[in-house]
Symmetry: C2
Subunit: 321 residues, 2 copies
């Protein structure tokens, strides 16, 4: 930069980085700072990390569907916590590359850590990332991946809680909404499976109900409701639950007498309906905890891989069941 501002590039580096191993005279410091301000000099992160051989970048692939309430808040908290630990968080918008191929794209940025929600990253992908210098790979999803730390989030437990609750309340013919919106399979499949498991070996039965997130689709489902002979429904989440509950009520089906309805996510809005919506509350790990896991892993890449169950699910019983 401003070697036109009197000194050598080395000196500039010393001054701007406050290198303690080297003493620079006050007048020189001042001149450097002044020149930097004047020229609007900003160091070049790529050059720096190229030289250093590592970065402080934590890469998180952007979700392939717009993040929901819960995940959005979680991500935000995480970002903040990592920032406090002096990491730079980068959400990388991977278009549609499948798992291990996406890993290559991420690896090009040479992040110090990668945090991958969902399935799709295999042991191959983890290996690519590690070889390219990532000191920590953390997956957040239903199962651990070889070579990576894992935050185990099994959405089946959400369905399981819902199913068990409905069964306990005396319901036997249970519908499970599966959103038609693509990209949600990741959550909806395990939730459905969880309900199945909860009812396995009992006299209860499970019926899969595809549903689009619009009033028409809900009305159509409601119109054929009595034909389905269901006495309860787990509606994937609170939003679908609200939609379906309204459609059922409009079709003259009384909630919870004729059909019990339960959602998930414990949104505030669910409490506003009448009857108030029962729901499965989901506890996500705090962003701070996850940030600390990442930091630990980065500082000591040799440490044994951690795997934490990290999704707490519990029923909040209100009036709709």
């Amino acid at each position: 930069m401003a070697r036109l501002a009197g000194v050598s590039r080395a000196t500039v580096s010393y001054v701007l980085n406050n290198t303690r191993a080297v003493r620079i005279s006050e007048p020189t410091r001042r001149r450097v700072h002044e020149a930097a301000r004047e020229l609007g000099y900003v160091p070049h992160a790529a050059a720096r990390s190229l030289r250093a051989g590592h970065s402080r970048m934590v890469l998180i692939p952007a979700p392939s569907v717009p993040a929901g309430r819960l995940y959005g808040r979680f991500l935000h908290e995480l970002q903040w916590a990592l920032g406090r630990l002096d990491y730079t968080v980068v959400q990388h918008g991977t278009i549609g590359l499948p798992g291990d191929e996406a890993a290559r794209a991420w690896a090009e940025l040479r992040p110090v850590a990668v945090l991958v929600p969902g399935t799709g990253l295999g042991p191959q992908g983890v290996a690519v990332l590690k070889r390219s210098g990532a000191r920590a790979v953390v997956t957040v999803g239903p199962e651990a991946v070889e070579g990576a730390h894992a935050l185990l989030m099994d959405h089946a437990s959400v369905g399981h809680q819902a199913g068990a609750h409905l069964y306990e309340r005396g319901r036997r013919r249970i519908g499970v909404v599966v959103p038609e919106e693509s990209g949600l399979d990741m959550f909806s499949r395990p939730r459905l499976e969880g309900v199945r498991r909860a009812l396995d070996g009992t006299d209860g039965s499970v019926t899969e109900l595809p549903l689009g997130y619009d009033e028409d689709s809900a009305a159509r489902l409601a119109a054929r409701w009595r034909g389905l002979g269901l006495d309860a429904v787990f509606a994937y989440n609170d939003e679908y639950a609200m939609l379906l509950m309204r459609a059922l009520q409009d079709a003259g089906i009384s909630i919870p007498e004729e059909t019990a309805v339960i959602g998930a996510d414990d949104l505030m809005l669910g409490r506003l309906l009448r009857p108030r919506l029962s729901t499965v509350h989901i506890d996500l790990p705090s962003g701070r905890d996850l940030a600390e896991l990442v930091d630990r892993a980065v500082r000591d890449p040799g440490a044994p891989l951690e795997r934490h169950p990290a999704l707490g699910a519990r029923v909040v019983h209100r009036e709709s069941t």
Copy 2:
């Protein structure tokens, strides 16, 4: 990399980049590709863009509050569209740095374009970014910033539409909810101002109503509602509107007879309430359009700055007003 795999680094570069100016024999290509796969070689993006002098990175600062439905979808669409144009989208989690300081942090990454939502970036910041090589800076907010392209999103028009609608329907004493949650001022202030402007010079009046996003806060407001003597309320958005409407109904206030309620954002859930929630529908530009604006600006940085009004607001009249 694999100069241990037989050839020179230059040849590797040629092969992997499919450099057309140079012919490489088929056997050599094969050997290079094989070695690359075997070693799990991934090019180093930083080194590449250092050498090239530019990157294809579009930087978007991550929002300081978890993104809402509308913005989340917009961002997602934008990311996809930019991806199609072969840009890499990076959301940079700037912690709490104020505007122009944050610009320096962004500039370190030498993005080819920067897309900044909200206020907070000043002409200084724009200058820093451009000097550091950004070929396009696009702000998305209420007013244009010197040196940057602008997508003009004036949330005052949202409030204005709501205010005018309520006035037309014969309402005169109008409350405006202002969320207590921090980080929302960016939107709530202009919306409030818009209502004020709509009623300016009429016999209507505007009352500011702070409200937290929880049932207690809503109940407290509802309890003192009659004392406020209002006949209508614009509730910031649909979520606050749903919350408040329920609290008012629980307090025995009839909607819309005694008090009209209108929200904003046109969420699907608002249609599920009874009475159905009137709302201000907000049209955001499509992600594709914005992506094309960015691309144009990058290809021709000399072109005159574009400024587009980009927020359409129109009332969707349902039953609550």
